[in-house]
Structures are given as C-alpha cells and as structure tokens.
C-alpha cells in the first residue's frame, strides 16, 4: 500500500496516566502514523478520552493528574520539563464530543484562534479556506456575522473542525466527534475526515465500532484490565486486521459484540 516506510508523528513509550493515586491508563505504547486516521476504541470508562487528552495536555487542567513514560512528537517529549503546553496545543488541535463553538460570530470563531497565534495573512481568506476545508462554506457564507449558536449541531461541529484547522495544526484529536449528532451529520463528519487526512494526522476516540471500521486506518483497542481496573491498550494494528483477524480474544469478543 505504501512505498516509503511509515512516518510516525506521535510515539508513546510506557505511557501511564494518573489521577492522584488512581492509575487511569497504564503502559500504552503506540505509534501514530502521519496523515492517517487512528481510532481508539474500547468499552466506556476504559480511558480512551484520558489517553486522547494526554496528547495535547488537556489533562493538565485536572488537578493532581500526572503521567509517567513519554509521549514523543517527532522525538520531543511532550511532557518534558521545558515544554510549554500552549505550544503543544497550537500544534495538536482538538475537536470535542459536544460541539462547543464560542459565543461569537461564525467568522470570529475561526479568526480568534488564528489571531491569538499571531496570524499575519489575509483573515477573510483564511476564514473562507477553513470553512471550505470543513465543507461548511456554502452553508454559512451569507451569515458569517451571525452567532455560531444559530447553526445546527452538525454545522456547529464542522465549525469546530474549521476553527481547528484554521490554526494549521499537524495533528487533530477528535473525541467522539459525532456522538451528539444525527446520522446524516455523522456521515458528513466522516466524509470530512477522509478529506482532512490528506493534510492532517487524525486520532479519533469512538465508542462506535462501525465508525472505527469505516473511517480509520489503524485501530487501538483499549480495555480495563488487572486488579486495579486501569485502562490499557491490548491491541494495536491496521483496522482491517482488528476487525477481521484480531490477535486478542478480548478484542474479538468486543468487535463481534460478545463483550459483556
């Protein structure tokens, strides 16, 4: 499928995430390939979102949370002492479970992130391009000054994607981006992801196995294990292998719906 050896952007080494003394995620070793979609699946409460939020250091806002091990972005440890989380988030954007546009105009929702990050170019142009990339331009081009809250849920979520790509991140994290949307909006988001992976590396958390099977190139399977009931990754490989020929019995039970 590929001629060159895969280029890895994010690599985790023995990554464990704690909330105080509670070990939420344990010993994750992952290689995220560039310009591919990697899905993280698993039963609820297994630490999928926690793992995802570790990649752009959103867990920093939970007091008492800390990590051991490493998350390397092009060889740089994101949790190194000299790393500024604000710079990390500038490079690793995020789309959340529920659409959360700012209470500003559609235009300002896109422009704000670019402005604070020192964007020097033509703002109108950037807004248009970002909205086009998020397949939203045609629907909103006549009401850019209107409040983002006037959009439908699906449009709001695409706006959130547009605002993320406006600051040109390298990686986009998506935390169950379609779970609050109707099937048609979901489909549009999934189509959009296929477009976006031409330029961006995408990591998506989903509880919907069909979605993972449809959109992703690689899949990481997580599960609660051990006496401490902490989440860990039990299998990571190409998506088609996970769904057709899983190595782990628990993965097979889960993807075939036999997981209790």
């Amino acid at each position: 499928m590929q001629n060159n050896p895969p280029e890895h952007t994010i690599t985790t080494k023995d990554l464990s995430i704690f909330y105080g003394n509670f070990l939420a995620v344990t010993d994750v070793n992952l290689n995220i390939e560039s310009r591919k979609i990697t899905a993280i699946i698993g039963p609820s409460g297994c630490g999928k979102s926690t793992l995802l939020r570790a990649f752009n250091r959103m867990n920093d806002f939970v007091p008492s949370s800390h990590v051991t091990g490493e998350i390397l972005l092009h060889g740089q440890n994101l949790y190194g002492a000299d790393i500024d989380p604000v710079e990390v988030r500038r490079k690793i954007g995020m789309v959340f479970q529920k659409p959360n546009p700012f209470p500003k105009s559609i235009y300002e929702n896109i422009a704000w992130g670019a402005r604070i990050n020192g964007f020097k170019g033509d703002m109108d142009d950037l807004v248009e391009q970002s909205l086009r990339s998020a397949a939203l331009w045609d629907e909103v081009k006549d009401k850019l000054k209107k409040s983002a809250y006037e959009l439908s849920g699906g449009q709001q979520q695409r706006l959130c994607i547009a605002r993320t790509i406006a600051i040109q991140p390298e990686i986009i994290l998506m935390d169950e981006p379609a779970s609050a949307l109707d099937p048609i909006s979901t489909l549009r988001i999934e189509e959009l992801m296929q477009e976006l992976k031409q330029k961006y590396t995408i990591i998506i958390v989903t509880h919907n196995m069909q979605q993972a099977a449809r959109v992703s190139d690689y899949t990481a399977m997580m599960m609660l294990t051990g006496d401490s009931r902490s989440g860990t990754m039990i299998e990571f490989s190409e998506t088609k292998l996970i769904f057709t020929n899983p190595r782990d019995k628990r993965t097979e039970d889960y993807v075939t719906g036999r997981f209790g």
């Binding site: 959103m58 806002f61 604000v86 988030r89 490079k91 995020m94 959360n100 700012f102 604070i116």
Partner: protein
C-alpha cells in the same frame, strides 16, 4: 356492591386551614408591594395635587426647597447621579477584576481564604461606611486635592459607596464567570490559547450578560443607599456636578427631613413621598431588568 374500603375524599379541616394560612403568608409579599405603591402614590399624589406644585416646576427647576415654594427635583437627582456614578466607577472595575481573579486564577484554597474577606466587607453596616467616608476618605481627599474639597462632598461618599458595592459586583460576576461551561474553556485551550486569553476573550464575553446584571443591581444599590450619603455627601440640596462639593441626594434628603421635626400633611412631608416614589420606581425597573438578564443568561447555559 360495597367496596371494603372507603377511598372517597373526606374534608380535612386542619389541612385546609394550614394551607390557607401558608397561602396568606405567601401573598403577603404582594400586599407589601401594593402597600408601598399605594402609600407612596397617595402622598405623592397629594404633593403633585397641591396648587403650588406643577410638573414644569418639578422637572424644570434646579432649586429644591418645598418650604418656600421651590420644587425643582434636579439638585437631588444630579447629586444622586454623581454619587452613584462615582460608586460604579470604583466598584465595577475593582469588582470585576476581583471576580476574574477569584474564578479564573485563584486556587480553591486561596479562594476560600479571600472570599470571607469580601463577605465581611459586604456585611458592614452602611452607617459605619458613612463614618469611614466622613472621617477617613474626606480628609484623605482634602490632603490630595486641597481646599477645593469641602467637608461634606459627593466624591468621598461615592468612593466609599463603591467600596461597599464592590463585594456585590464581585460575587455576582464570579457566579456568572463560573457558570460559563467548561467546554468553552477547553475549546479555547485546545486552540493554543493561554489562560489569560481564555478568561478575558472567551469566558468574560460569554459571561457578559451576567456581569451586566451585576452592574445594574449595583446601580440600584447605589441609588437607594442612604446612610453613606446622609453622613458624608452633604446636608442641603445643591445643583452641581462638582464631586468635591456638598450636595444632598434623594435618599439623604429623605433621611435628613424625616429625621427632624416633620408635621404630617405638610408639603414637606408629602414631597418626601414623591421623592421616595421616584426612588422606588427607578430601583424597581433596574431590579426587574437585572433579574430578566440573569434569567436569560441561565437559560443560555443550562
């Protein structure tokens, strides 16, 4: 066929009696409002009905001395405006800043240490603030600005009133700021915003209507505040916008005149009710607007 139990309603006299009493207690508040409107309205009606008083005099004159037929309300209104404006100039920036610090920056520990101090400030009786205005703030202003500052002056009363209102603005604004959902902050952080950019450019605009409600309530408090101005602002109507001069506010005037020997049914007596009616209407409108804004704000985020 007779059922083995009788499940039909039976009168419970005790229950109904209690319910009626509770209902009365509930509607008493409505009667309070009606009584306020009636009492103020009736005496104000007598005031405006007296042959000497005309609306033209009332809203056109700049001298207030009912005893000698001067009925211009403006001196009392302007001084109320001046003291309230000074109070808001002090309390809004300080209160809002304090709220931003408490809700966005302070650790839970710092917050629980600092908030009681603001609560103490809010609990100090206004007459004590009056003492503070007259015997601390006025001398201080006289030291800074020299002799142009009169012993009684609106600036000192206004500044101290601002300090009094500060805790109110701060706690209402803080409520509004903390009501902004976490998802908005997270969205901002995920765009690479710093904490400061998030709180000032995302959280504060999102909470703006709540802050506006606090501001409006603050104005209402300032307009209705009596003791600070009665002690420190001045003891006589004076048509001026100079904050260093003495001028009596609407509330201060009511307090001074009613505290003296006042004979019922005189024009002086009735005029006080006319002033109080204006005061009541202004604060009522402000309070209603503020409540409405807060309700809207809650609906938006709940």
């Amino acid at each position: 066929m007779n059922p083995p139990f009788d499940l039909t309603k039976k009168p419970r006299i005790g229950e109904s009696l209690i319910q009626s009493l509770l209902f009365l207690a509930g509607v008493l508040s409505i009667f309070t409002t009606l009584a306020i409107v009636y009492v103020l309205g009736k005496e104000a009606w007598l005031f405006f009905g007296s042959p000497e008083v005309t609306f033209a005099k009332f809203f056109g004159g700049t001298k207030w001395q009912p005893g000698i037929g001067q009925f211009g309300i403006w001196p009392l209104v302007t001084s109320t405006l001046v003291t309230s404006s000074i109070a808001m100039l002090v309390s809004l920036p300080l209160g809002l800043s304090a709220a931003l610090f408490l809700s966005e920056y302070a650790s839970p520990k710092t917050r629980s240490a600092l908030k009681p101090i603001l609560e103490i400030l809010a609990g100090i009786p206004t007459v004590v603030y009056g003492y503070f205005a007259l015997l601390f703030m006025t001398p201080l202003l006289q030291n800074i600005f020299g002799e142009q500052v009169q012993v009684y002056n609106m600036a000192s009363a206004g500044i101290v009133m601002g300090i009094m209102i500060l805790p109110l603005i701060s706690s209402m604004s803080e409520d509004a700021l903390s009501a902004v959902p976490r998802s908005l902050r997270e969205a901002a952080y995920a765009m690479g915003a710093t904490k400061f950019e998030t709180s000032l450019q995302i959280v504060l605009p999102a909470a703006l209507s709540g802050v506006g409600a606090a501001f409006i309530i603050g104005i209402s408090r300032a307009v209705g505040e009596t003791m600070i101005v009665a002690v420190a602002a001045g003891a006589g109507p004076n048509f001026t916008f100079n904050p260093f001069q003495a001028a009596e506010t609407m509330t201060g005037h009511i307090a001074r005149i009613s505290g003296g020997d006042l004979s019922y049914n005189s024009i002086d007596y009735n005029s006080l009710f006319a002033i109080a009616l204006m005061l009541f209407l202004v604060t009522l409108v402000l309070n209603l607007i503020s409540q409405r804004v807060v309700e809207r704000f809650r609906e938006k985020y709940e």
